[in-house]
């Protein structure tokens, strides 16, 4: 029995799609349609009661929450990151949770600034969120420059490069005001890793399937 990925292209499930394709394990896609209300359907709520994607169905049962799925894949299959007892596990866990806890929420506030507290607060939240994004991206950029972790490198983008790449892609593409878009070129070490990540044969296959364009991370286009 293989893994089933519940998926809408260029939603957070694209992150898991990239990781699965990179791993080369058997998986199938169960496409969902946002506008048809698939996420609220009883069938999908049986997989994820919160009605959120990504979610995967595995031989051990469903798993959801983007970073939880990525960590589950590393722990189950290895290769895309260090497992318990392997070199780099401590730093990998720290930076995975850093990304999930600080970068991901900053991105959500940046591209959906009306969600925390309505339209009135959106401009203040959007601007503050962009500053938070720059701060978090700078930490990842410095990490790569200083430590060259094998699990976030041009040679092995791991699970973190697709995670960060997709998050920053949306922040670069979606804000209506160009002055408020995230600029990856300010973070050259991170950019180099994301450029390698989007160039793998696996990433190119996913980009074609999900309609992500030729350079999903370094030159995202709507």
């Amino acid at each position: 029995m293989s893994i089933t990925l519940y998926h809408i292209p260029d939603y957070a499930s694209t992150i898991v799609h990239l990781a699965l394709e990179e791993l080369g394990v058997p998986f199938e896609i169960h496409p969902l349609d946002f506008d048809s209300g698939d996420l609220a359907s009883p069938a999908f709520r049986a997989v994820n009661p919160l009605g959120l994607i990504p979610a995967i169905r595995t031989p051990q049962g469903p798993v959801f929450e983007t970073a939880a799925i990525l960590l589950w894949l590393v722990d189950t299959h290895g290769r895309l990151g260090p497992r318990h007892g392997e070199a780099g596990r401590e730093a990998f866990l720290s930076w995975l949770f850093f990304t999930a806890n600080t970068l991901h929420p900053a991105m959500m506030d940046h591209i959906h600034p009306e969600r925390p507290a309505g339209e009135g607060l959106a401009p203040a939240i959007e601007a503050a969120a962009l500053a938070r994004l720059h701060d978090k991206a700078a930490h990842l950029d410095a990490l790569i420059a200083r430590e060259a972790p094998w699990w976030l490198s041009a040679r092995q983008p791991g699970v973190l490069a697709p995670y960060v790449g997709v998050l920053l892609r949306w922040s670069a593409m979606l804000p209506a005001d160009p002055a408020l878009r995230f600029d990856l070129s300010r973070f050259p070490h991170l950019r180099a890793v994301l450029e390698a990540a989007e160039s793998t044969p696996a990433a190119r296959r996913v980009a074609a399937r999900d309609g992500l364009g030729a350079h999903p991370f370094t030159a995202p286009e709507a």
């Binding site: 866990l93 949770f97 009135g120 939240i125 503050a128």
Partner: protein
């Protein structure tokens, strides 16, 4: 030897309790928030993001509370389902929920100026609404046995400490009501009786009932805030 870089009643408290639960010897190193020691070169060398806690281990430093809890559980084979266990997926999902949703939203309440400068009151109102929803979800998990089971997990300790913060730290105004959360509060009351929590409470000046009757900490060293 493990070293826990801590400040009283910060997220390092969660790690301290778990270290006691696991029976692991450890040293502590105070991060003096009054002098913003978390911005010092020495601390930033351990955690460039400058957040507390950091756990120094023989294999290198760990940052991010949930990462530390997971590493400790994996290293000891306790307080969390191991990789390969069918409960591992739901456990990871819960751990990420606690850290990237519940805890992240609490930080918006604690430090509103970082998230909506000039609009702190409106942010407080909106995020406290979300937080009530998060705690209702956790109360449901307690009803399903995902929290508050016979043996404490790292999820239980993490949740219980946040109950204390929700009651105590609300610069925008008190908002937390334990009345709709009887299962969580019962879990917290049980945890308070454990030797691990009593040791942590003594070390950080948290009083006799740190979760169910929280009061501001009176620590022997350092301070909870800057």
């Amino acid at each position: 030897m493990l070293t826990l870089h801590y400040a009283p009643d910060n997220a390092s408290l969660i790690v301290r309790i778990v270290l006691h639960e696991l029976g692991l010897p450890f040293r502590t190193a105070l991060v003096d928030r009054a002098t913003r020691q978390q911005d010092s070169a020495a601390f930033r060398a351990l955690n460039p993001a400058g957040l507390i806690p950091v756990l120094e281990t023989p294999q290198g430093p760990l940052a991010e509370t949930a990462a530390i809890l997971l590493w400790l559980a994996e290293t000891q084979g306790r307080m969390a389902p191991p990789p390969g266990d069918p409960a591992r997926g739901p456990f990871l999902q819960a751990l990420f929920f606690l850290s990237n949703t519940l805890h992240a939203d609490l930080r918006m309440i604690f430090y509103p100026r970082r998230y909506a400068p000039g609009a702190e009151a409106a942010l407080h109102a909106a995020v406290t609404d979300r937080l009530r929803g998060h705690y209702a979800l956790l109360e449901g998990w307690a009803g399903q046995g995902r929290l508050g089971g016979p043996q404490p997990s790292v999820l239980d300790i993490y949740t219980a400490v946040t109950l204390r913060w929700a009651a105590l730290y609300a610069p925008g105004g008190a908002w937390f009501d334990p009345a709709p959360l009887p299962r969580l509060m019962a879990m917290a009351a049980q945890l308070e009786l454990r030797a691990s929590v009593r040791a942590a409470a003594r070390a950080e000046g948290l009083g006799e009932a740190p979760f169910t009757r929280p009061r501001p900490c009176q620590p022997p060293e350092g301070s909870a805030t800057g």
